[in-house]
Subunit: 360 residues, 2 copies
């Protein structure tokens, strides 16, 4: 157990933006909420699942909605505590800790604000270690753990509790409720024991996010060797360096979809095309997939090393395209069907990235 | 307290079809469920709310969905007990009785089947004493009683519990969930105490429905004076006698909408037009409204005295158009805004029917 400091918080915001892989909502809004909550209610403890009673109940809290709406409709905060309390009441048991469901984007930080208010620690684990657009896209789904019972709450006091027979049905029902409740709500899903998280969760996600942000901050300060250190820590690789020559974005079926085309800085005959569905999902060089979901694609501004989200993409931006392997916990049966390119409707095979653990 | 007999059940089906005012789903399907439940679990007791502990919890159960879908997708039955049990668990209290929310159409009978299975009595009261298409269209809404907490369950095991800040939000959220869950589900709304029902419910609805059906059955058997007796009991009036010369039906926005035009048998220069939204809502003679919601409009086959539902309307049918005053409990502040013609989007004033109690 360790206390989260304000320095940690800044690094976490940077790491979370990177792990948002172009989407995941704006962590800066969530940062304001966390700072306010820490001022009002005190600091937050980060804890390992194994430090808790294995039978203890852990609840999650997150924003569900369209990132574009979340930017305009800043969360009130009350909906997160309402949603968590509703789950506790529905399950007839109080939680011993909260957990982020998604370490990537703003949902990395939301549980910290709620935990400060409820006086609970936050578990150093999650179910994605990146952003994904749908509720069922978690390592818990691979482990057969249901997303339900699940609650969706709005800031006005409306609350819905779902008990569903499958995680895709949970996604459909929650998404429809959210469309009726203003497109930016609090969700609490995957109630679990600390023991289940220790066994099936992605371990150390919060620490990883802070450490990643810390290293990226060093790059941004221009420290010598910092970029290599950052790439090494993340096991990441620069796949392309170029300028954005085409952006096509549209919002359809509740998703921000689009395509961005980048021309190589040194060789204009080389182009990279990246497909977007809220997050950056697949990078093609000259028509051939080179980085594919669930591995992460991140755009870094070439001058400032600032991560670029899909909302801030602009013509002429000079960027490094970074590929980063997904958390090792993802590599288990069912991963490709759940979060591979075909799960998003692309007729593309998964191209695994090399990692320290892999033999390639 | 009295036992519901099989004879009562047949009369109730006939009365419920009439009170369905052209909609409300087919009570014959529900009748099969009730017979089966009575064979499996024993008979059902009908009880006055004042016979119960005023603090006792009463739950409701009903079908929610599109009547056209319900005909094709016969309810499995398990969804109703699931929905009621979920409410009891959410509220942390067991019910002492069930109540029909809608005495009119198939929802008159559904609670009887569930009550037989759960070994509970059914209260002789409801919130409409006719069919209405939306959850908030109840005398309980007029009394300020919330529809939520509320559950929606399907036959596969999916379950949603709602806690909403207003009854129209409850309607919107439930309707959206139902659209995702196959368009014919079990809803349990308006959890209340027996004392609240005694104070705010429409009293004696189930008995009224049976008595109405009994009198209509006598008409159908051709007994002398039966039609006058039926009209007198219902305080009903024949507004028009003619043949159907035009029917326009369409299903839009989750409603069966339409118009039926009837030409007078004795004077072809007279026509009546009836507007439909699931139920028959407004009858115009030569452009002038003569019967308007919440008063009831019922079409009776001229030869057989069978009530005609909007699904069975046919060109050339000869019909009596019966107007019947709504339950007196409806006449209170807010009625016209909630269930008058303008609540359904018609720019028409409510034209109250004469009743024994009225001064007109």
């Amino acid at each position: 157990m360790r206390e989260l400091t304000l320095d940690d918080l800044d690094d976490m915001v940077l790491g979370a933006t990177l792990l948002g892989t172009g989407g995941g909502g704006d962590p800066y809004i969530a940062r304001l909420m966390v700072r306010q909550a820490m001022e009002d209610f005190g600091s937050v403890q980060i804890i390992e699942p194994r430090e808790l009673d294995p039978e203890g109940l852990v609840l999650t809290t997150a924003v569900i909605g369209a990132p574009t709406v979340i930017v305009e409709k800043v969360p009130a905060g009350t909906e997160f505590t309402t949603g968590v309390r509703a789950m506790a009441s529905y399950l007839g048991k109080d939680p011993v800790a909260l957990m982020p469901i998604e370490v990537g984007g703003m949902n990395t930080l939301i549980p910290l604000a709620t935990a400060a208010e409820l006086g609970l620690p936050v578990i150093d684990a999650d179910s994605m270690r990146r952003a994904f657009p749908q509720i069922e896209m978690t390592v818990f789904t691979l482990a057969g753990i249901p997303a339900s019972p699940m609650s969706v709450a709005d800031e006005k006091g409306n609350l819905v509790v779902f008990e569903t027979i499958s995680n895709p049905v949970a996604e459909t029902l929650a998404r429809t409720a959210v469309m009726q409740l203003g497109m930016a709500n609090a969700i609490s899903a995957y109630p679990m024991t600390a023991g289940q998280i220790a066994e099936h969760g992605i371990q150390g996600s919060m620490s990883f996010c802070v450490d990643l942000g810390k290293r990226l901050a060093a790059v941004q300060r221009g420290e010598e060797g910092a970029f290599e250190e950052f790439l090494g820590f993340a096991e990441a690789e620069v796949f392309f360096t170029g300028k954005i020559i085409d952006i096509d974005r549209r919002t359809t079926e509740g998703f921000a979809r689009g395509t961005v085309v980048i021309e190589h800085l040194d060789d204009p005959s080389r182009t990279m095309r990246i497909e977007i569905q809220n997050e950056l999902l697949i990078a093609f060089e000259d028509g051939k997939p080179v980085v594919t979901t669930p591995d992460l694609i991140c755009l870094l501004d070439l001058e400032t090393a600032a991560p670029i989200t899909t909302e801030t993409l602009a013509y002429g931006q000079r960027v490094n395209v970074i590929g980063m392997p997904c958390a090792p916990e993802w590599h288990q049966p069912g991963m490709i069907e759940l979060v591979g390119p075909q799960a998003f409707g692309y007729d593309v095979e998964y191209v695994p990235m090399k990692t320290k653990g892999s033999k390639k």
